[in-house]
Symmetry: C2
Subunit: 315 residues, 2 copies
């Protein structure tokens, strides 16, 4: 089965409602930029590249709506990148389609580059969801897993609290694809690394600063620190639309704080006591020094730093 | 309100059903060692010192039952320590009561020693539940927080997936005591440390090896690694009943693997796809080199190692 998170229908955008996965496959229909912005805010669609694509089609629907779309979520730069491209475009629909098609092509290309770095039978740990659901198709980090299928790799999916993208989406995509996948809680990653049960970590990104610092789903930073301690390679997979050369380093990346009820329970189930105070930063920043390599559609930047990123973007 | 996790009634043991907290306060009544073993296995009662106390009363109820109790859970050594004491005792009820009373006294003593290490207005990160619920009373790591109340400390409680002892039990105990508490997912700990929002980490223990390696709730190891990176002191609080000098180092501590349905959802709510493969190690091992100090009822062992532990146990 091919997962289609984003379907453009000419007069409307259909978004696979990722809040209901894996139990229910249903689509939300958006007919304006406002409705797309709402869907992004509510996480009907999530994942940095997918948000960028959805926003582009949102502009097509309203022949504008830049402002409401730009306010929908703050961290993933792909959103602002797509809006900027749309702002410069003459044929809005053609540009949105190009953004969508180019994202799939970028993922396939970076998947090939990444697969070269993955050993045979590697046990690949990943975080959040970076698959077809997070992009126009194929996926970034999970796209590398897809491109490595011939190597008989297996996936260790961190469940990714609070929103459980790993448990709900990554485990589901792996099962759909027939890729062996073991689900763990985020807190188990260090234990598995300490027992030698992880060969490589591959994650996605929401924004990469000019110096190679990486903002990604909350919990990524802990994986990077643990991977360094255990000598496990730590790769970041992202298309060029995720790079933000205007941001000097990770400290300048805005980190979204989401509603507390994501932490105190799941859907209608509550487990924390009523009235408890909560923090819910949705992303964290992994400093470049912890990143073994950044994989994009142009190739791999090993030991990323300001120079390496500049050369990549200029190439 | 005083939380009483374990009530001895002369002919029966009443255990606060911690599976139902914080929504429901109700007790499970045990009239035999078998019933106590079942309650330990099912996590009606949990927390290393509380398990030891419950097992001791289990022996009283059946005038034996050592074998079934010893098989209930493998990692916390307090269980085996209590059974050994009961095996040597003449008056079983008096011994069980002594184990219970001594645990409260030990917690109060270590609470005082620990409080000396806690700065004014410290933001104390903790994991799992180590409060009154995990012990005969007062608590170990959370006992130190209780003993530090005068210093206007605040707690950052990691929710502690998969069983959510932090969200369900620690946050609840803090609210009952009027101690300001912020709940986070386990994956957020590194982000908060990187932003300078954590002054000290204090956790409990399920078994401490002769060299100072510490087995504790899964996720503890990641906190220790992150704390070291950020120069945040990392303390372990445990009574002497948690020390296992027969175990040379942490690699020999048996790590319990619990049922997968703790990871795929919560109570009757499922979120992972059906049939997904799961790992569920309930504990991990933190090497002594990452531990700033171990706090017990005899005092504090800073930078614990084989010598320091030996001197402590011989003192």
């Amino acid at each position: 089965m091919t997962v289609e998170p984003i379907r453009w229908r000419g007069d409307r955008l259909e978004l696979l409602d990722q809040r209901l996965l894996p139990e229910t496959l249903s689509y939300v229909t958006c007919r304006s930029a406002e409705e797309v912005a709402q869907a992004i805010r509510d996480m009907v669609v999530r994942g940095a590249p997918a948000i960028g694509c959805a926003a582009a089609f949102g502009v097509v629907l309203s022949k504008g709506g830049f402002e409401v779309l730009a306010k929908s979520r703050p961290t993933a730069v792909n959103l602002f990148w797509a809006l900027e491209r749309m702002g410069r475009a003459k044929d809005l629909e053609a540009e949105a389609k190009a953004i969508y098609e180019e994202d799939i092509a970028a993922n396939r290309a970076l998947g090939e580059f990444g697969a070269e770095l993955i050993p045979n039978r590697a046990r690949i740990m990943t975080h959040c969801n970076t698959g077809a659901l997070a992009t126009a198709g194929h996926g970034t980090a999970l796209g590398i897993v897809r491109s490595s299928k011939g190597k008989k790799v297996t996936v260790i999916a961190c469940e990714t609290r609070p929103y459980l993208q790993g448990a709900r989406l990554t485990a589901w995509e792996c099962m759909q694809e027939g890729i062996p996948c073991t689900l763990i809680t985020d807190s188990m990653a260090g234990h598995l690394m300490s027992r030698g049960e992880v060969d490589v970590v591959v994650v996605g990104a929401d924004r990469i600063a000019a110096n190679g610092d990486v903002a990604n789903k909350i919990g990524t930073y802990a994986l990077a620190v643990l991977a360094q301690r255990h000598g496990v390679p730590f790769y970041v997979a992202a298309p060029l639309s995720t790079f933000d050369p205007a941001i000097t380093d990770g400290s300048q990346i805005p980190i979204e704080e989401r509603p507390g009820d994501e932490v105190t329970g799941y859907r209608k189930t509550r487990w924390a006591p009523k009235g408890v105070q909560v923090r819910n930063p949705a992303f964290d920043v992994t400093p470049a020094e912890l990143v073994t390599g950044i994989i994009c559609e142009k190739g791999v930047v090993l030991r990323p730093d300001r120079d390496g990123i500049r050369k990549l973007l200029a190439s």
